[in-house]
Symmetry: C2
Subunit: 338 residues, 2 copies
Amino acid sequence: MTTSREIRLRSRPQGLPAAANFELATVELAAPGPGEVQVRNTWMTVDPYMRGRMNDVKSYVPPFQLGRPLEGGAIGEVIASNDPSLKPGDLVQSNFGWREAFNAPASSVQKLNTHGLPTEAFLGVAGMPGLTAYAGLLRVAALKPGDVVFVSGAAGAVGSLVCQIAKLKGHKVIASAGGAEKARFLKDEIGVDAVIDYKATGDSAAALTAALAEAAPEGIDVYFDNVGGGHLEAALNAARPYARFAICGMISMYNAEAPVPGPANMALIIGKNLRLEGFIVSNHWDMMGDFLKELGAWHAKGQLKWRQTVREGIASAPDAFIGLFTGANMGKMLVKLA
Amino acid sequence: MTTSREIRLRSRPQGLPAAANFELATVELAAPGPGEVQVRNTWMTVDPYMRGRMNDVKSYVPPFQLGRPLEGGAIGEVIASNDPSLKPGDLVQSNFGWREAFNAPASSVQKLNTHGLPTEAFLGVAGMPGLTAYAGLLRVAALKPGDVVFVSGAAGAVGSLVCQIAKLKGHKVIASAGGAEKARFLKDEIGVDAVIDYKATGDSAAALTAALAEAAPEGIDVYFDNVGGGHLEAALNAARPYARFAICGMISMYNAEAPVPGPANMALIIGKNLRLEGFIVSNHWDMMGDFLKELGAWHAKGQLKWRQTVREGIASAPDAFIGLFTGANMGKMLVKLA
């Protein structure tokens, strides 16, 4: 028997999730059944989208169940196999995060070839957040030469890669993030053209509109939205005709306990011919090959900079998750499990 | 000398325009100069977009100037010509509306071939509003087989044609309009599948969401927005994955004296992969040929139904315009000048 600890959803959060919404439980795993593998996770990810699954609301993924372990991306090592396709020692990627170990059909995990990258990169820059940045910027926002790009949540896992891709492709980039350390990282390491530190300016639509007008007096052509709220309203004000908005996330809304009014300037989308398009990364897996090829080339030239914020041990996972909403992470937030 | 009366902008409206914002003035026109024609207008149009030009705000068209005649679509007859390209009796279309007669360079008016349609149709179903409906539905919203279509402002010049085109192309159509007479027209004459009379249901997002859920329990794939506000929020709630919103107008906002909060459910555009796209008809003139061809075919088969609301005389133009915002028109609102 293998002992594993896991995080279960004890109650549905109202507003900002709290430790009491989660519980740590211990389970004993039998040997894997026919066609199954047993995996010990080494890394798991926490991502803002998981907040939506904690509500009892139908969406593009079903809600998490109370009393059941949460789910999410993880990387682990096969420790026992009852299927010829995998053997002990193989590295695999799965959606069985939030637990130290698990049994699952071999077909439900993917063998991982790291191409020399650190394994945890596949939960971040080379994984789902990376592809989200790539597909959102290049396909959804249809980035084209000369575009001025505005990115909110710019120090996060997705946002920081959006900034880098846009810079590597020669664009002027304005990044919004909260706090001096994040601002410094974006300006000095990623090399964006201007940073709006919304913890300094305030995050009202008016404050952000003024900051954006100063950073990009010529206006913006692309807005990559991770935040919503005042950032979206400011971006509508700053948009040049035919600007495209890739709406990836609205983290400012996820913990709202009552409906938050949307931008008061939505009518601008008519006269400016704007396009706002929401997307989820799972519709863009077809770009993974192109993405990893470009990413590999940037990495080989030493052009890629990523940050991660690491918590240790399964018991820290709820806190890591909650930290996404309080700005505790620089780059990808991860939990190291073994 | 020819005497002409014209409507000038006396003051910029605050909120709903009032008669006092306009003034009727009389001018004397000399004979047309070299290369000019003199035109007596027979019809002029009033359109919701003109409200935006009454504010002192930069947009895709410059604001109207105080003390100067307003501008807008008109059809008239050449009464004197000093240019070989036009002769007295020719019908022309121009942007010199809001006046009984004018002198202008011959190159600034377009000779009109009516193809047997009533001349005023070229200010409505066969003109700018018609092309707006056609381009918005087919190109911007990218209508495709099986789409369920929701149209707000559905009894207006644009909306009523959107409903008809969608019905002629075999779609389920839900139309929203204000008042029993409009509802009856849409249901019985245009043949839409369901009508929401927002004057009966109320126009809050909650009321419209409930009405839309009843009319289209399966959800909507296309929303043609002429209204904004609660209609837009309800459409976001009703949207099926990958729905496309053609944002043509937000008449509910145009007279707002303070910013009106946007939809409280904007975050739905992420998980549902929605696309919201604003547009102005002037970017779609290239579709005019296709549009008139299809329109002509529908007209020849007797499939086209349009309504117009006609006011008489230049002095009635401000009232006709104001009536756009109080729902006074069924179909195109026009002013007959001669």
